[in-house]
């Protein structure tokens, strides 16, 4: 039972990091119909920026987090303006390839700046263990769950109540109608990328604390796809639920079944969801018959 509890906490904390990355993916998809294959690299950028701010520059962690998020947002705004804006309205294959190209550029640049070897900095999430009943849990992992949930809830509230959030929903609903109501689409696209980068940066900061800083972090970018397809491509709530389910599934399968099946099980889920319910658990049901 204590093993089960440990697995659950570990799965949920991984799942919440997936959810943070997935939420950014969802925001970009919702606003601009772009499928962002560089989401994992934004996460990677977050881990290296916090390493840069805390370990290399020596800022206190609170300031470091702020600097990390701001820098990540700046990079994302530049990407949106320079790379994505000229391609508005291009076919899906161009959108996919341009973000794949971006991912390659980001990874190359990060490796060139910080080198390929794993780095570490002193974790500022509490490092000790939490003993709940029979189970021993890593405090950082436990703590990461409410942090992620708070950020995701913030994103949800943003969509519901702020002017930009409502504008984003309007654009997702009907771009032309939104334009005719005086909504500035370039601004909304910029905000979407900024938010995606911020949420990925926070995910990256937590990853940096829990597992350290290494180029392998970018592999999580691919885990985003099962998460968003399961949750629904245009739903933040879906990203949270999908992230939790995929995270839990991975650790349970990894422990109880083994054989490396945990690596492939998210994709099996993905295929099944696509076959049965392509719009996912919470996605908007768009009926498009082929």
């Amino acid at each position: 039972m204590d093993i089960f509890l440990q697995l659950t906490v570990s799965g949920l904390s991984t799942g919440m990091i997936y959810a943070l990355a997935a939420a950014g993916f969802v925001v970009i998809y919702k606003a601009s119909d772009v499928i962002n294959f560089a989401q994992g690299d934004l996460l990677l950028l977050g881990t290296y920026l916090i390493f840069f701010a805390v370990a290399q520059t020596g800022l206190p962690w609170s300031l470091g987090v702020l600097v990390t998020v701001l820098l990540a947002v700046a990079v994302a705004l530049a990407i949106e303006r320079l790379v994505l804006r000229p391609l508005v309205g291009e076919p899906i294959i161009s959108m996919i390839m341009v973000t794949i190209g971006l991912s390659s550029v980001l990874r190359g640049a990060i490796n060139a700046i910080w080198g390929p070897n794993p780095r570490a900095f002193e974790s500022f999430l509490p490092a000790g263990d939490l003993v709940i009943g029979p189970a021993v849990l890593s405090a950082a992992r436990v703590l990461s769950i409410p942090i992620a949930l708070a950020v995701l809830a913030g994103l949800g509230l943003f969509f519901r109540y702020t002017r930009d959030g409502i504008a984003m929903r309007a654009i997702a609903d009907d771009q032309q109608a939104a334009l005719s109501m005086g909504i500035s689409i370039p601004r909304v696209f910029g905000v979407a990328w900024g938010l995606a980068a911020a949420s990925a940066a926070i995910g990256g900061i937590m990853l940096g604390n829990i597992v350290g800083v290494s180029p392998n972090v970018a592999a999580i970018g691919l885990r985003v796809f099962p998460v968003v397809i399961l949750g629904g491509l245009d739903s933040i709530k879906g990203a949270v639920v999908g992230g939790a389910i995929i995270g839990l599934l991975e650790v349970y399968v990894g422990f109880y079944v083994g054989h490396g099946l945990n690596l492939v099980v998210p994709y099996l889920v993905l295929i099944m969801v696509l076959m049965v319910r392509p719009y996912g658990l919470f996605g908007k049901e768009i009926i498009e018959r082929v």
Partner: protein
């Protein structure tokens, strides 16, 4: 195929010819001559690169049939190449099948697998299909590394060298002829495919699938056929790699492979045979060029040289992005622009109007 001014056909045969104009024939002859002379003057290093380009051309044409001509996005190229390579390698290694037969079996099996992975295209379009093929890629990758009884897992399998008339075929020089012939044959087949009813149906499905079904194209059947045809050649490319390299390892067939091949057809030009070749050449040669550049500056700037592996990765991405932004129709279109310029040279219309067609 665009009409060109100043070209008059007096017979249907010449109108339907693949290369009706003298200039085209001369260019083809020059290319053929170059291909014939190249292996006798080039070093082993460049010959090896040429072989890689030829294999990549076969794979890129295969992928272009699916993505460029039929509009079905696939991120599963690496997986299909893996199926081709492992089938060819294992058949020859374990059952002693002659290499020619096992290459053929590999192509057929890859075509069958491609058709199976194409089944989701019944329901899924565009982005969803791309993600489904991404999942297929991941699943095949997992099978390669974990289904140890068949694939040997992460260990490489060693394939016996192919022989013809007592000649070892996979030396760089001997393989060159095989690879070039295969690439040329593939290009010829694809060029003719898109002049046929089936190829036109592929393009109709890409441009407007509903309209295609209205004019009597069975959309689902056409899509599956596109998946099968495409995977046949992708499997061929995989099998060629198996026999050329003598070993089959999973590292050659990861998601990264899929991305590299997609980059080839984007950079070369979607829906263009010439583009598949140009893209395959550029993307294959790019890392080699950067490595050579690194060697050249090793002494003067060792710092910069150590950054080159990452520069390679970044340049790969930058090339994709620049092409998408500035020339989405790729190298193939650039080449056409050059041709059109010289077509009427030196008596061009006023600048900017020479392309009014």
């Amino acid at each position: 195929m665009s009409m060109e001014c100043g070209v008059f056909h007096t017979r249907y045969e010449s109108d339907m010819g693949l290369r009706p104009r003298p200039a085209q024939r001369i260019r083809l002859a020059v290319l053929a001559l170059f291909v014939l002379v190249f292996p006798f003057v080039a070093s082993t290093y460049w010959l090896d690169l040429a072989n890689q380009v030829a294999i990549a051309t076969v794979g890129a044409i295969g992928l272009n049939i699916l993505v460029g001509y039929t509009g079905q996005i696939s991120l599963g190229q690496g997986a299909f190449m893996a199926i081709g390579a492992y089938t060819a390698g294992l058949l020859t290694l374990n059952f002693g099948v002659p290499w020619g037969a096992s290459v053929f079996c590999a192509c057929i099996l890859t075509a069958v697998a491609g058709t199976f992975f194409g089944l989701p295209s019944l329901r899924l379009k565009g982005l969803y299909l791309a993600i489904a093929t991404l999942a297929a890629q991941e699943i095949v990758e997992w099978a390669m590394t974990h289904w140890t009884t068949v694939t040997g897992g992460t260990e490489a399998i060693v394939v016996p060298a192919p022989r013809l008339f007592g000649l070892r075929l996979n030396t760089t020089f001997n393989f060159y002829w095989l690879a070039v012939l295969t690439a040329a044959g593939t290009a010829l087949f694809a060029a003719n495919l898109f002049r046929s009813r089936i190829g036109r149906a592929f393009e109709a499905v890409r441009d407007q699938d509903i309209a295609a079904s209205v004019i009597g194209v069975d959309v689902f059947r056409t899509k599956l056929l596109a998946f099968a045809t495409s995977s046949f050649f992708v499997g061929l490319a995989g099998a060629m790699i198996a026999f050329y390299r003598n070993i089959v390892t999973w590292e050659r067939f990861t998601l990264n492979t899929s991305i590299v091949y997609l980059a080839m057809i984007i950079v070369g030009g979607l829906g263009s045979i010439r583009g598949s070749f140009l893209g395959a050449a550029l993307i294959t040669l790019l890392p080699a060029l950067i490595t050579n550049l690194g060697r050249a500056i090793q002494d003067t700037a060792p710092q910069a040289a150590s950054l080159l592996p990452y520069a390679q990765q970044a340049v790969f991405g930058i090339v994709i992005i620049l092409f998408l932004i500035f020339e989405p129709r790729g190298l193939s279109k650039l080449w056409e622009n050059v041709k059109d310029y010289f077509h009427v040279w030196p008596f061009a219309y006023r600048r900017g109007e020479s392309r009014a067609n």
